[in-house]
């Protein structure tokens, strides 16, 4: 009986429909891998082979010159290190604020709770928009500082609600017994709620980290100093160099007459992608869990 519930079609052979579905899903999965294989192939091929359009999914005239160029360029390594530090600091600040906001808001007895919650949710549906935020950052003197990449996005109301939902789902009796034992609210948060919420906290940290790592718009708006460029802005400059197509964006992004070969562009794409590829498989499970908590209960 148990087996029957688990597997709806026990012992049945694969039908044509089953095979068609499998083939379709495999084909779709390939479209997610092929671009990266192509990037790797380009980055490991000689420029002559690329210009002659000989390169497919396998490198032609195998060479690691491009990677040597990137790794010997201190700029690129500096930007990588800086982006990693920036991402970590951003994530810590975000998580601190999110936890500080989520825990009190789970307490129904808190005076003003509904008002605060509505004020928070309102900002999810209505915002001042790009320009007032830009002027604000300018007036706060944060232009061309790291703070402009950390503070304006330092808490997501959406993530806050996911975390609040998770806190609420913890058994109330745990907190009650702790408070009977004389534990303060802060003690309950630090000793009971947080240790039990580690999976959710991991998920949300990853959401924040990926957002910061992939973030590009704020850097484009607020940062003109080269040493404060995060990885994505640097990558954008490399890719849009000598693209010609790019004049719509005001030319600020292109490096003028300096020619960047395709293999270097592909290698830079890989350079920016690899940090995500490294952590991604291990953490994918948490992402899914996090979205589910938010989706089912939120």
């Amino acid at each position: 009986m148990v087996k029957l519930v688990k597997n709806v079609r026990p012992g049945k052979k694969m039908s044509v429909a089953d095979i068609a579905i499998l083939v379709f899903i495999v084909a779709l999965s390939f479209t997610c891998i092929v671009p990266f294989l192509y990037m790797i192939a380009l980055s490991l091929s000689s420029n002559e082979a690329i210009v002659a359009q000989k390169v497919g999914l396998w490198p032609v005239d195998f060479t690691i010159e491009t990677y040597k160029t990137i790794l010997s360029d201190m700029d690129m390594l500096y930007t990588l290190g800086y982006s990693i530090v920036l991402t970590i600091v951003f994530t810590v600040v975000c998580m601190f604020l999110t936890i500080c906001a989520a825990y009190p808001l789970t307490k129904k007895r808190l005076w003003g709770r509904n008002f605060i919650l509505s004020a928070l949710v309102f900002t999810m549906y209505f915002s001042g928009g790009l320009i007032p935020s830009y002027i604000l950052v300018k007036n706060l003197g944060m232009m061309n500082t790291v703070w402009s990449l950390i503070l304006p996005g330092a808490m997501s109301v959406f993530n806050l609600i996911i975390l609040k939902t998770f806190f609420t789902s913890l058994p109330e009796s745990l907190e009650e017994s702790a408070s009977i034992d004389g534990c303060s609210d802060l003690g309950i948060l630090l000793r009971i709620v947080l240790p039990l919420s580690l999976p959710s906290i991991a998920t949300l940290s990853l959401f924040y980290a990926v957002d910061r790592w992939n973030g590009f718009q704020d850097a484009l708006f607020y940062i003109t100093k080269k040493e404060l460029y995060p990885m994505q802005l640097k990558l954008y400059q490399i890719i849009s160099a000598n693209q010609q197509l790019d004049s719509q964006q005001g030319g600020e992004g292109s490096i003028g007459s300096f020619i960047v070969p395709e293999s270097l562009k592909a290698a830079s794409v890989m350079f920016t992608t690899v940090p995500i590829l490294l952590i991604y498989p291990k953490l994918q499970k948490y992402f899914v869990d996090g979205v589910m908590t938010g989706a089912i209960k939120g």
Binding site: D18, P35, S127, F216, G250, I276
Partner: protein, 316 residues
């Protein structure tokens, strides 16, 4: 426990004002925790909303909001006379509607197909791969698209090998539009399934067993059990997406667009960037942003209202 706490002060007969102070004092620590997040929201979310006043002024960066001259609705009048504004608005709507048509049903279909797969290992591996594009920034995707779809890229190489004529995916309007939409669907199709797969897990298994007894075909089960089972989720996501019809992210059109296709790729977000930040016409750009926010909120409320009228669950 709570009841005791709450009723005690009343029994002693403390007045309302004092009771309020007591409650604040009891929860002082919780309020202290809330202090920083509230300060954050006030400064970085509500101050920009106050900044929307600029849309009704001839904003001068040196005078600030207090010193700038009020012009009423002149800024809006000026914008609504601009052809470039209508072009940006039209493009935003076109791209969003196409995204909705192509991109909204895709994850639903994929989720239903994934649900039909029995082999747990296969399912897990393909899901891992399918979620991957979601974690790539638009700069990375834009770079890949440029390298793959340009005239010398792999896709045209392949087309040429088939003996067909090369397609200028990135510099001709209609091919660019198709590429833009296709890449969006590709980026989101995998990740979008998660929420539907979660909803499918919530469907009562007995329904499937009963229909097996009745000898229902697989398609009938999809149509009569799975789809109705995830209908509330579909509704909510649809309402949210309709609410976003006039707003469009910045990164995707900015990175993928170029001057040869700006007839199609110039949207509200890139328009605001160009007018506001590149040219410094802050009032105009703010007015466009405000227009977008208000229309977006109206659409969201409207879609929610209609959904409720039709007897479906809304987001409120």
């Amino acid at each position: 426990m709570k009841a005791v706490l709450n009723s005690q002060p009343n029994q002693v007969g403390i007045k309302r004002g004092k009771l309020f102070l007591l409650r604040i004092k009891r929860d002082a620590l919780l309020y202290a925790l809330l202090l920083l997040p509230i300060a954050y929201i006030a400064i970085f979310k509500y101050a920009p909303i106050y900044g929307l006043i600029m849309a009704f002024q001839d904003y001068n960066i040196f005078e600030g909001i207090r010193g700038s001259e009020w012009v009423g609705l002149d800024v809006f009048r000026f914008i609504f006379e601009q052809d470039s504004f209508y072009r940006a608005l039209k493009n935003t709507l076109v791209l969003n509607v196409l995204d909705l048509i192509a991109g909204f049903p895709a994850p639903i279909l994929l989720a239903i197909l994934l649900n039909e797969v029995g082999q747990a290992r296969f399912k897990k591996i393909t899901q891992t791969v399918l979620y991957l594009p979601h974690f790539m920034s638009w700069v990375i995707i834009g770079g890949i698209v440029y390298l793959m779809f340009s005239n010398s890229g792999m896709v045209n190489h392949f087309i040429a090998a088939l003996g067909l004529e090369k397609i200028e995916f990135l510099s001709q309007k209609v091919p660019w539009l198709i590429t833009y939409i296709f890449v969006g669907v590709w980026q989101n199709i995998g990740w979008g399934t998660i929420i539907y797969l979660a909803a499918i897990t919530g469907i009562n298994k007995e329904l499937y067993e009963a229909s097996d007894m009745d000898g229902c075909s697989r398609l009938r089960k999809m149509w009569h059990i799975t789809l109705p089972g995830i209908k509330p989720t579909i509704n909510i996501l649809l309402i949210l997406q309709i609410g976003r019809m006039v707003s469009i992210g910045f990164d995707r059109p900015f990175v993928m667009g170029n001057s040869l296709v700006s007839e199609y790729s110039d949207v509200i977000s890139t328009f605001v960037y160009r007018v506001g930040i590149s040219s410094g016409d802050f009032s105009q750009a703010t007015a466009v942003g405000l227009f977008q926010s208000v229309v977006g909120l109206t659409l969201l409320i409207g879609a929610n209202y209609i959904a409720k009228k039709l007897g479906e669950d809304g987001i409120w």
